[in-house]
Each structure stands twice: as structure tokens, then as C-alpha cells.
Symmetry: C4
Subunit: 202 residues, 4 copies
């Protein structure tokens, strides 16, 4: 299968997933005498989770194209791994909603943060697995040959980019605020143009 179809479908899923995130931001339910300003301010976790998820899907979209751009054609393993990767992205609106709803609940906040950050972790791992399959395939499907050293570097970055998400997920047991702060920092860091060296990382 040509990679242009693969990109078009993947673009579609990512564009829908990133835009569906907004459905998680509900109108605030005001208690008697509460102002709209206070009601809106009170649901800041929904905005924080929205921005972090939006940036993270945006980054994965950019890196997805860099990755697929190296491919000449897609085989079934690539289609399969890509489908799993898309599933991990398509599920983010749920993880985001969960994070937003439970960030301040003393009982569920640790689990919600672990699921939120863990979703990014799984997404990153699937991305690295797909990258590994593409770069290390016995019969290269690369559009342009890359020296082994360069391929290894790309892969190492792919895996290294996942580590902070593993740390963020582990930290959920201690502080869900630390978890979302790390995810936010990663979103800004990877998306921010200065850090273009890290672009391949996630």
C-alpha cells in the first residue's frame, strides 16, 4: 500500500481526535450564587488537560509525518502497528476527560493521572515500535537509504522520548499534579520550535 493513503487516514484520525478534545470541556454547573467567572475558573483542570493533550497529539502528528515520510511503501506489519498507534491516539479524549474530572478528587486522582500519562507512554512506545520496524526491517522499505548509525540515533531518540512519560506515570502515585506538570512541560518542550533536535524523540 502506498504511504499517501496511510498518511491520509492517519491524518484524518488525528485531526478528528485532536478536535474532539473540546467536547470534554463542559459548561460549568453553577451552584447557587456562584458567578460564571468562578465556575469557569473552577474547572481549570479541564483546560490544562485539553492544552496538554492538544499539544501532544500535535507533536505526534508532526513526528508521524517525519517517520512515514521516510517510507517507500507500507507492509502489513506497518499497517497493523500504525492501527494500534492510532487507537492509542483516538483513546486520548477519554483519558483527558478522566484526568480533568479526577485531578482534584482525593480518591481517584492518582489512578486518573497514571492512566493519563500512561496513555502517552503507550502511544510513545507504539511510535517507537513502528519506528524500529521501519528502520530495522531486513528488506529496507526506506525511500532513501540511511546509514546504520543514523538509524540507530533516530531509534534511541524515539525510545528516550518515552522515558519522561514513564517517570510522569510513576510519579502519579505521589502527586498527580507533578504528572500533569511533566506532561505539560514535555508538550511545550517538544512542540516549541527551539528544541527541534528533540523533535524526533517522542
Amino acid at each position: 500500500m502506498s504511504t499517501s493513503r496511510l498518511e491520509a487516514f492517519s491524518d484524518g484520525v488525528m485531526a478528528v481526535a485532536i478536535t474532539l478534545l473540546v467536547l470534554n470541556i463542559d459548561l460549568p454547573t453553577l451552584v447557587k450564587g456562584q458567578s460564571l467567572a468562578s465556575g469557569l475558573a473552577h474547572q481549570w483542570p479541564a483546560y490544562a488537560a485539553y492544552v496538554v493533550s492538544f499539544l501532544t497529539i500535535g507533536i505526534i502528528w508532526i513526528n508521524h509525518h517525519v517517520m512515514i515520510g521516510r517510507l517507500r511503501e507500507a507492509d502489513r506489519t506497518i499497517l497493523f502497528l500504525n492501527l494500534l498507534l492510532l487507537m492509542s491516539i483516538a483513546v486520548l479524549p477519554f483519558a483527558t476527560k478522566l484526568m480533568a474530572a479526577y485531578l482534584r478528587h482525593s480518591s481517584g486522582q492518582h489512578l486518573a493521572a497514571a492512566i493519563y500519562s500512561g496513555s502517552f507512554l503507550i502511544m510513545g512506545l507504539l511510535f517507537a515500535a513502528l519506528n524500529a520496524h521501519i528502520l530495522l526491517a531486513k528488506h529496507s522499505k526506506l525511500r532513501q537509504e540511511l546509514p546504520l548509525e543514523r538509524r540507530r540515533l533516530i531509534l534511541v531518540r524515539s525510545v528516550a522520548g518515552v522515558i519522561p512519560y514513564a517517570i510522569a506515570t510513576a510519579l502519579a502515585a505521589v502527586s498527580p499534579y507533578a504528572t500533569i506538570a511533566i506532561c505539560a512541560a514535555l508538550g511545550v518542550f517538544y512542540a516549541f520550535p527551539i528544541s527541534s533536535g528533540g523533535a524526533d524523540a517522542i
Copy 2:
């Protein structure tokens, strides 16, 4: 009509349908004293139905491209059958929601499972009908001529791929768990790269 437009629109509908599935996964409503972990675990049918539907739409997307890729141009019958096929895909978020909500209800579980699996069955039948029209048309619209034997083989596979869904639908009268287990096994089997021989089947 050129097939590229047909593919673009079909890709769009499938990308939206596959991504909308996540809206079926609600936050759990916790009863007093229930932990979030228990609440999330309790709604496992929603996750199971999600994964099975996601994989199945993913497979139909892959096979749709193989099928349309053989076409030189689309006539009105193809547009019409394709529209019906897209309708059977677009309706899956509803069937998935129904399955997830009723899998453990003693009264509605059989019907919900039959509708769920039956939706895949109808999708498979429409896919086979479209394939039959494309492969057996009097005035071939194939991009590349295929020997009759090969065309028959593709068609037989198309129809054969539907049989397990018919069995799964029939089994809903006995056990809805068997139904969803068969659908899950089919999703994994067809999507898994090893079974590339069966790729054309659904």
C-alpha cells in the same frame, strides 16, 4: 468519477467513525464508597467493544483500499453500494454503545450481541457485494485485468470472511460472550500481519 475522490470521502467517513467510538466510553458513575479503579474495571465491556470495533473498522479500511485500488473509475452502482457500505460502518458507534451497555444485562444481552455482530455481518455482505460488482462487471473497470480464476478466488474469500460473523450472530441467542469473543478473535486474526493471506477475506 475518479476513484481518488471516492477514496478520500470513504477515508473521511471511516476516520471519523473510528474516532467517534471513544465517545461511547463514559466516565464511570461511582456508587457511594466505590473506588475509581473498581468503577473503571466494572465497565470493561465498553473497552472490549471499543477495541473490537476499532480493529474491525481498521481492517475494513485496509481492505477497502485494496478493493478500490483495483478500480480504474467508479460508476453509479459502485457509488451507491459504497454509500451503503459507509452507512453500515458509520452506524457502528451505535451498535458498539448498545453492546457495551447490555452485555451484562440478563434481559437485553442476546439482542444487543446479535445487533453488534449482525452489523459486522451486514458490513461484510455489502463489502462482498461491492467486490462482486467490481470484479464481475460486464465492462471491466479494473485498472489491470485479472484472470477469472483470481477474481473468483478474491470473491470467495470475501464471502467466506463473512461466515464467522454469521456464526457469531447466531451464537448471540446462546451466549453474547461467545459472540463478542468471536468478533474479537476475528479482529485480531484479520488485523494481525501474519495472516496476510486472509486480509482480503472480510
Copy 3:
């Protein structure tokens, strides 16, 4: 602006609108002792409205491509009329939901049916207006010159295709069932491959 961008965006909006229709089909709320089968059967207006709207958007998508396919490039008037046309399509999930909810309510059924059918009417009128602008422009933007007679025929069909929707809308005052039956018949008639002569009509 090139017409390929115009088509891509229009395709996107139509693909999303046609797929969002499924969100209008809710799980039935069962009253005590009611079976799921009865609950599902009871909400047949939701399925009827779904199928009619799905087919109608599908037809407008087909005809949209025929129309835009004649264009060499798009000017601002075309962009503007196309945007209004897309709005009339994007609003159909609401009209469909309204129709489904009120078809059996003695008090609101006439208005709901008039709005439902009226939405198709407006969509058809905007389609005809866009067609008129494209076909009768002083400085032709057609990819391929068409004799005046042929252009007139296309336009007459465009306008004629709207008449049944006007009748269906007027009939809403008498019987909302007649309204939806006419819309359904038109959906099947225009979509069905035999009637390819009428394809340009709506």
C-alpha cells in the same frame, strides 16, 4: 483558489456531518418491564430519519463533485456560496434529531417535519444557486466549455430536483409522515443507480 482544496474541505465537512448523524441515535430508555427489543423498535423514527439524511448527504456529495469537477478555478462568490451550502449540510444532524424526536408528538410533529424537509429544500436551493453561478458566469470558469443548451438543461434539473422537497415541506402541515416518506423516496430514487439521469437534479 484551486478547486482541489475546495473539494477537500467540502469532502471533510460532508464526511463529518454524515458520520455525526449516528450520535442522534441514543440507547432507548426502557420503562419498567419493557424489553430492549420493544425499546429499540419504539424509536424507529430515529432510524428512518438517520437513513434518509445519510442517503441525502451522500447524494449531495456525489452531485457536489460533478458540479465542482466542471470548474477550473474558484472565485470568492463560489467560495461564499459553497460555504453557505456546507452550512446547510452541517446543520442536518440537528434537523434530523428534531424530526426523530417529534415525529410522533401530536403537537410538534408538523413543525419538525417542515424544518426537516425545509433543510433539504434550502440545501437544494443553495446547490442550484451555486450551479447557476458556475454555469452562467460572464467569464466562464469551466474546465471545458459546454453549449448553452446543455448548461441550461443542467440548471433546469438542479431547480427541478428541488420541487419535490418544496412539496414535502408544504405537506408537513397535513402529514409529517407524508413528508418523511417523500424525502425517503427521493433519497432512494436519486441514490439508486438506475436513475442516473436524475443524478444531477438535486
Copy 4:
């Protein structure tokens, strides 16, 4: 990265966002004895906010293509600014829902109108920032060189187009109806083909 991928993803996000707006229009909840006509008429703010947001996203889509059409290739800063621009567009369904819900609430109407119009303002500012980066980059990435004068004119228009939204946002403190009226007038003015000179402005 090639600009065609950037356009495809941006088109996808904008097409989904513009179509999701319809989900904000709920069926009216009728109080006892209220007719459907009265219930529908009562929620006119939802329709007004819908139309204004739809036109505004439509305009930004048109101008986005004019802007990206000038680009030869995208660098990371462009990807980053474009991602922020898409976020400001993807968030509009929420701002629209807020506006529609609070336009007639004496307590929240000012804030809701300020957020609504402020969202357009931020979108316009991000658009101008992206335009500035594209037009004033040290190493031009323009497909076709433009004289400095022409580039300045485009930029001035980009910034000038934002001013009315700033005024509309400020006026929210006085009258939310004035705010939405200005946004509506801008939507019609910029979308309307006659005012093609102003097309670049927003």
C-alpha cells in the same frame, strides 16, 4: 515538511471543528404547555452563535489557504504557530456553546461575550503572527518573491482585521448583544464576495 501535509491536517481540524458546532444546538426543553415553535424560537442565541462561528471559521479557512499557498515549505516555527492557531479554532465550539447559553443570563452574559469575541481575537492574532513569520522570515520560504511593500500591506491588513474583534471584546463589558452583532457583521462582511479586498484582513 511540505505544505500539502500541513494544509491537509489543518483542513481536517477546521472541517471537524466547523461541523462539530452543530452539537451545540440541543433540542429545546419545553415547559408545560409550551409549543415547539416557541421553544425553538426561544433558543435563538444558539442559532446566532452557530451562524457567526460557522462563517468565521469558514473565513479563516479561506485565508489560511491564501497564506499557506504563498509558502514553499514549512519550518518548525510555522508548524508550532499553526498548531496554536488550530487550537484557537478547535476551541470555538466551546466558546460558541458558552455564548449561546449565557447571552440572556444577566449575570454571566458579559463574561461569555468577552470569551466568545476574545476567542476570535486570539485566533486573529495567531493568524497575524503566523503571517508575520512567513512574510518577514530572514530566509524567505515564499513560493514566489513578493516586494516588501506588498508584504507589509498584507501584514497591516492581517493586524487591522483583528481590531474590530478587540473592540467587540471590549464592548462585552457594556453590551453582549453589541459584541455578537459586531462579530456577525464581521463574519458577513469578510465572507461576502464583494469585500474581497478585505479577504486577507482577518
